[in-house]
């Protein structure tokens, strides 16, 4: 399992970015209902790990930061979700 994705918010960020080509900081903030600081910290961690790419631009004279999942990020997410599924199946099988 990917340690960095064990945090629910970071996993959620990767899942959302895997589903879409790119998303803005404000959109992610609105969906995850996180504070600027908290979200920024999670995104920075993921970026440093090479899971996210960042693009900044101006739109209607306001700065907009776009995030997208890198190939490395997709592979890490797939691997992590696979591990989660196996863990859940093992947990369910242990109880029966």
């Amino acid at each position: 399992m990917e340690r960095i994705l064990e945090h629910r918010s970071r996993l959620a960020l990767c899942v959302l970015l895997n589903r879409n080509d790119c998303m803005s900081f404000s959109r992610l903030k609105g969906l995850l209902e996180e504070t600027d600081g908290s979200l920024g910290a999670h995104l920075l961690k993921l970026e440093k790990e090479g899971y996210l790419s960042v693009r900044k631009e101006f739109r209607d004279r306001k700065p907009v930061t776009w995030y997208s999942l890198t190939k490395r990020g997709k592979e890490a997410l797939d691997s992590h979700l696979g591990s989660l599924s196996r863990l859940i199946r093992q947990g369910s099988g242990g109880r029966s």
Binding site: R8, L11, A12, L16, R19, N20, M23, G91
Partner: protein, 189 residues
């Protein structure tokens, strides 16, 4: 290590988050655009039937291009871009337009009378909206069903049936757009 119950909760949270991100897929302006086109195009069948073909030949593709531009702009505004979704919409509506275009020679050749063919077109478009509601955006399912009811009503309404159907479908598009806007929770620009 997290328990399997916690993991299940996390996965359910992710599922809910994805569904939340998919709400409000199209901006109100696209619904409003097609509400206007439907109102004009359907009414023309009653008031200017000789111009209906030309109207849809121009308005159909132009409306499609305008919808694509509005959809992309909306994605930029809300901060979420998904090329795959956009392409799925594009192929869906392109397929319908192509089917209608390929049926036109049936009218031109006289094989099927235009008043009858117009109703067949309505049925095709109704199916298109219904399937769009199933696979793309839920409110369109009801617009499709209303169009099918409109198709049936045309057999019974003695005059200005197309105009009446056009008004009802147009209103349903406006209402659907308004509902989607509220579900999305983000303003249109």
């Amino acid at each position: 290590m997290a328990s399997s119950k916690q993991l299940t909760n996390d996965l359910e949270y992710l599922g809910a988050l994805l569904r939340k991100s998919e709400r409000g897929g199209s901006p109100f302006m696209i619904y409003a655009l097609w509400a206007v086109l439907v109102l004009v195009g359907f009414s023309m069948v009653d008031f200017a039937p000789h111009r209906v073909g030309l109207f849809w030949f121009i308005a159909g593709p132009l409306g499609g291009v305008a919808s694509a531009i509005l959809g992309h702009r909306y994605g930029l505004t809300i901060g979420q871009l998904n090329r795959e979704d956009g392409l799925r919409h594009l192929w869906h509506w392109f397929g319908i337009m192509l089917a209608i275009l390929l049926a036109v020679p049936l009218g031109v050749s006289g094989a099927i009378a235009w008043p009858v063919l117009s109703r067949v077109f309505l049925l095709i478009v109704a199916l298109a909206y219904f399937l769009a509601g199933v696979h793309l955006e839920r409110p369109l399912k009801w617009v499709g069903l209303l169009m099918m009811a409109g198709y049936v009503s045309l057999f019974f309404i003695p005059a200005y049936g197309w105009t009446l159907v056009g008004i009802l479908v147009s209103l349903s598009l406006v209402v659907s757009g308004w509902v989607e806007r509220r579900r999305g929770g983000t303003p249109d620009r």
